[in-house]
């Protein structure tokens, strides 16, 4: 006897997927080679970062796994390089390839978590502000203005500095991830709040919202089930761009020395470390992490840009 519950669920999912595949968005995607390439590269990088522990030849975070004797080896194709260390090693003897993979993972972890928090915070406050209006709106918007007047890096430094003082010695390293994520998300949420607020103000006047109000649907339900799905479009675009920004912010902070602890280096840390050796000839220590960062951010930005144009209803053809 076929199980009608799961069957109908599968059928519905299949229909949803086909509907999506056939949509304008997917069609444009399939016909934009640059975007497909960007998507493949970005996805490839993300996947290799996720599966870093399985892919990387060494674990650069394990202090026992590297040997100072292997320090400053150039990439494999150069003179003096070895197959064991494809992209060379750094000043501590860590394999660059592994370091980059793990570093990318750290960067992604921090980048994605902070974006996630930013999004949740920003959307909630934006919805509230736009829908409820009045004093709530004014207060939240002034709060946004205040937050915007601080540059992100400065804010992160500030928060980090405060936490350093507050927390007892020794626990700082463990807390640094959380602090970093907190700092970066705090500097990023305002964009979402503003965007969502604008869209909410427009959607609020539309008749399907008024209809729901007539039926006695609670404001909370209206905000999250009616308005939210319809204002999500621009958010998607912001998110892709923000991921790149978050990673760069983290890299900057790590570069400045207030990011992740040096035992678990992110891309930024690697760039910083390598920077000192750039002019003494060991270019690979900073160039490869730098290239990785550039390529990743570039592909994400390209995708975000394309998404914004593709989702813009004015540029779409007749449906």
């Amino acid at each position: 006897m076929p199980n009608t519950q799961t069957d109908s669920l599968l059928i519905r999912l299949k229909l949803q997927f086909l509907r999506f595949w056939d949509s304008d968005l997917c069609w444009r995607f399939r016909h934009a080679p640059v975007i497909i390439l960007s998507f493949v590269i970005a996805a490839g990088m993300i996947l290799s970062a996720v599966f870093a522990s399985w892919i990387a030849p060494y674990n650069p975070f394990d202090l026992a796994s590297f040997d100072l004797a292997n320090a400053f080896l150039p990439p494999a194709w150069e003179e003096g390089g070895s197959r064991e260390f494809l992209l060379g090693t750094d000043d501590q003897g860590r394999d660059m390839l592994s370091a980059i993979l793990y570093g990318l993972r750290v960067s992604l972890e921090i980048g994605l978590s902070s974006v996630f928090i930013s999004v949740v915070l920003g959307i909630s406050l934006g919805l509230l502000s736009g829908y409820v209006g009045g004093v709530t709106d004014a207060v939240i918007m002034r709060f946004c203005d205040v937050m915007l007047s601080f540059p992100a890096i400065l804010l992160a430094l500030l928060i980090d500095g405060v936490i350093r003082v507050v927390l007892p010695e020794g626990t700082h390293d463990e807390a640094s991830y959380a602090v970093l994520i907190f700092a970066i998300s705090l500097s990023g949420w305002v964009k979402y709040a503003r965007t969502v607020r604008g869209s909410t103000l427009a959607e609020k006047k539309r008749e399907y919202v008024q209809a729901a109000q007539v039926f006695g649907v609670s404001s909370l339900r209206i905000m999250f089930t009616h308005i939210l799905p319809n204002v999500l479009g621009p958010i998607l675009v912001l998110v892709t761009v923000q991921i790149a920004t978050a990673i760069i912010t983290e890299a900057t902070l790590s570069f400045l020395g207030v990011g992740v602890p040096p035992t678990t280096p992110s891309l930024g840390t690697l760039i910083r470390i390598g920077n000192e050796f750039l002019f003494s000839g060991e270019w690979w220590i900073t160039i490869f992490p730098g290239l990785t960062l550039i390529v990743f951010v570039l592909t994400i930005n390209l995708l975000g840009d394309w998404l914004r144009d593709a989702l813009n209803p004015k540029l779409q053809g007749q449906s």
Binding site: E207, Y208, Q210, A211, A212, P229, N230
Partner: protein
């Protein structure tokens, strides 16, 4: 006492002198610098009427007359600045708890724009189920699906349509989905805000026929808002004409259309393009609706009125009952019964 109770019972909606003022003043700083007073828009300025069970009352008028705002006050989208709205004997402003729930159950609304009144991301089934779920009228999933199927059938659509999305339907079909949604919880009173104004003529005919049939089949009372007098003539039992936030005439349909008393009603009727008057010129009409922010003093219609006298420029007439062709009509005009018989 008995007779009074009976007529009381048959009145479903009683609106007593409601008004809605909007504060559209410039921001505080601008006002202080330019020394401007607060600007108040009197969208609705004292309107009273009753709607009896099973009848269709239409409110008709041009832009700025306040008919949409009145409609929205009746369903709770706007809170009246003053006045009282009573539905089924319950005062909308003070009702609480179980009674409030009862009230919500009884009133529904249909909107003008068939494209904006349905959430584009929800399936039709979910759209129709929303009022049922929001007011917990039914909780069993199967019962809800059955209810959705039955209202879709009532509006001449098929049960399979509940899996589709609004953009897959035409304007007329979307309006029917709107109607299906509004009858899903078996209300008694439906406020219709220009439901056919955005529809083509042949589609409008379908929707109007449907609404009339439903009224008979499931016993509905309608408040019908429109600027289209022909539609209003077709569908209503009684008609109220509004101008700049007030009612100027309220009468049975036949009496109003054949023996209009208020000069504005006459002007409106003269202005309707009639397809049978091919080539015949219409009467010249004077003026335009004045800016609702600066209504004329006295009777707001006096600048356009051919019968205006001194008193019209000073005193805004109240609605009073007069006899017209054997029926009681309410009209707000100094001239009627005085210098115009």
């Amino acid at each position: 006492m008995q007779a009074e109770a009976k007529t009381q019972q048959s009145v479903l909606v009683r609106v007593q002198n409601i008004g809605k003022y909007f504060d559209v003043s410039a921001p505080l700083l601008n006002r202080l610098i330019e020394r401007k007073p607060k600007t108040i828009l009197k969208a609705v300025d004292g309107v009273s009427f009753e709607i009896r069970r099973g009848e269709t009352l239409s409110l008709v008028g041009e832009s700025g007359c306040g008919k949409s705002t009145t409609a929205r006050m009746l369903v709770g989208l706007h809170k009246p600045t003053f006045g009282r709205v009573e539905i089924n004997g319950l005062d909308m402003a003070t009702v609480k708890g179980k009674d409030a729930k009862e009230l919500h159950n009884k009133i529904q609304m249909i909107f003008q724009d068939p494209y904006a009144s349905l959430n584009p991301r929800w399936s039709v089934g979910r759209i129709i189920a929303e009022p049922i779920i929001a007011q917990k009228v039914l909780t069993d999933k199967k019962e809800i699906q059955d209810r959705i199927d039955s209202v879709l059938w009532l509006v001449n659509m098929s049960p399979e349509d509940k899996f589709r999305y609004p953009h897959q339907f035409s304007g007329g079909q979307r309006q029917r989905i709107s109607i299906a949604r509004s009858i899903a919880i078996h209300p008694e009173f439906i406020v219709c805000d220009e439901p056919t104004s955005a529809l083509d003529v042949s589609v409008q005919a379908q929707v109007l026929n449907l609404m009339q049939n439903l009224q008979k089949e499931i016993g509905l009372t309608y408040l019908f808002i429109s600027h289209n007098l022909s539609v209003v003539h077709h569908i209503s039992d009684r008609v109220g004409v509004m101008y700049l936030g007030r009612l100027v005439e309220l009468a049975d349909k036949k009496i109003l259309f054949n023996y209009p008393l208020h000069p504005y009603t006459q002007l409106l009727l003269d202005a309707i393009p009639d397809i049978r008057s091919v080539g015949k010129p219409r009467k010249k009409i004077q003026g335009e609706v004045p800016n609702p922010l600066e209504p004329p003093a006295g009777c707001t219609f006096h600048p356009r009125c051919p019968y205006a006298k001194d008193i019209c420029r000073k005193v805004n007439p109240e609605m009073r009952k007069v006899e017209n062709m054997g029926s009681i009509v309410e009209v707000a005009c100094h001239a009627v019964g005085n210098w115009r018989k």
